[in-house]
């Protein structure tokens, strides 16, 4: 893949959380790159600073030291240019808005326009346009969150354990859905997960982090070709990559 502009360029990122007497070193000198059109996963144990890193990239958190570049500019500027799409584990849909009204939210905020019906079709929720979030399953809600994150045409999709709260079957379905969607659109993705298999299946590259303080311990290029399907998970090449990521995590029980 030829990289023109870096979608994400993190250099020497360190972040401390201060809580009165104690300080917690969440990130310690982290470097991270995501190329334009590249799908990069961050894998690591709980509390290794994955979410902190993603929030710094999203401009939702001011890191203690280090620099973060997003699409050739600062995270704050990237937010102002409305080029970020955010999907979180708890999707944070507005319960008083129907599915279609939730997906319209970013359009209202940014003043952008988009074919919302087409957007709903893209993620397979066109039949639920008039439903309210509470009437939907967890998987369906994440599809809404995905449609909402894509509505204003972002160039970088930031996903923080988007399938973490789903049951295994919904998770599988959402992986396939995301693969299908991404392989058509090729927008840059930074994907946080604690599932090794998920990371390997989806990504061009897996960045492995260790816990407290969060450091990058390995980077595993995933040379499996595209398009990918879940059948890939049965191959030896896939198993080898999973082993390598697991080794990077230091043989922690997964």
């Amino acid at each position: 893949m030829t990289v023109t502009t870096a979608a994400v360029e993190v250099r020497g990122l360190t972040h401390r959380y201060d809580s009165g007497r104690e300080t917690l070193l969440a990130l310690d000198g982290v470097n991270l790159d995501v190329g334009e059109g590249e799908f990069v996963s961050l894998v690591g144990p709980s509390g290794c600073g994955k979410t902190t890193l993603l929030r710094a990239v999203a401009g939702l958190l001011q890191p203690s030291t280090g620099s973060v570049g997003v699409l050739g500019t600062t995270p704050d500027d990237a937010r102002a240019r409305r080029v970020l799409g955010l999907v979180t584990q708890d999707p944070g849909l507005l319960p008083w808005r129907s599915v279609v009204a939730n997906v319209r939210l970013p359009l209202e905020v940014t003043g952008a326009s988009a074919d919302v019906d087409a957007l709903l079709r893209r993620v397979g929720i066109e039949r639920f346009a008039g439903y309210y979030p509470r009437q939907l399953s967890g998987g369906m809600r994440q599809r809404v969150a995905l449609a909402r994150a894509l509505a204003h045409g972002p160039r970088l999709l930031l996903m923080d354990e988007p399938f973490g709260a789903l049951d295994e079957l919904s998770r599988e379905a959402m992986r396939v859905e995301l693969l299908r969607l991404w392989e058509r659109e090729r927008i840059s993705v930074l994907f946080v997960t604690h599932s090794i298999r998920e990371a390997v299946l989806l990504s061009d590259r897996v960045v492995v982090m260790s816990g407290t303080p969060g450091r990058v311990v390995d980077e595993v290029p995933v040379d499996l070709g595209r398009p990918r399907t879940p059948a890939l998970e049965e191959t030896a090449a896939f198993a080898a990559l999973v082993s390598r990521v697991r080794a990077g995590l230091g043989g922690q029980p997964w």
């Binding site: 937010r79 708890d90 999707p91 507005l94 209202e108 905020v109 204003h152």
Partner: protein, 284 residues
Amino acid sequence: MPDATDVVDLPGLPAEQEAAPARRGGATGALGRWLGLGFAPGLAAVVLLAAWEVWVRARDVQEYLLPPPSAVAQALADEPMRYIDASRLSLTAAMGGLLIASAGAFALAVVMAHSRPLERALYPPALMLKVTPIVAIYPLFTIWFGFGIWPKMLIAALITFFPMLVNAVIGLRSVDPQAYDFMRSLDASRWQVFWRLRLPSSLPYVFAALRISVPLSLIGAVVAEFLSGTSGMGQLILIANGDFDTPALFGAVVVLAALGVTLTGAVSYLERRVLTWHESSRGV
């Protein structure tokens, strides 16, 4: 703020607790609701009133001590305009005060919800207002505002101000952090966040406050009328009391209770209509 949980968890009318499971049940649900809400309490009331009537007559209790329900009904039927006029004055004072307080408290809550320093600065005086026995302020109000409707309205306003303030501040702060992050990732303005996220998030708390405040506003108005003795149900009660006209006194209590129930019911109805999205999560 311990008040908040008190305020929010305070039970409303039985109607809204029992109506929720029945609503989806169709014909049997409606019947069950009718039986549960109308019939059983109605029967209990009839039995109670009949027992009261019989007991008073059998024991030949003096009417000024405890009038039979029939005498109370007679008092209401004899002079309906007396009660209607008095209620109109009391209602005006109560609702006017509630309106002033709710609008003012919500506006202040918006300011406080956006600024921790301002919240810290403004909370103590608001709390002081809350713990001060409002009746003690009334003489001051008559000096400033005379004996018209204004001092009564202001008493009703003072007594309802705090529940709305506390609930509105908490409501405006109780935004889903993920939804907030999403809006921030789009560089949404404060106004957009307020209008699309904070305000709708606060509505369940605002309605909870209203359910507390509506009966409080009536209390405030009637107490103020007691103290001034110049108008409304408070005055009616004072006069009836002076005349040993106990049936009229009971009549006033019945009318005030009916007003309280009706107003609270109206708030609950409005709440159900506005908060359809919130209702189901609360109904179970």
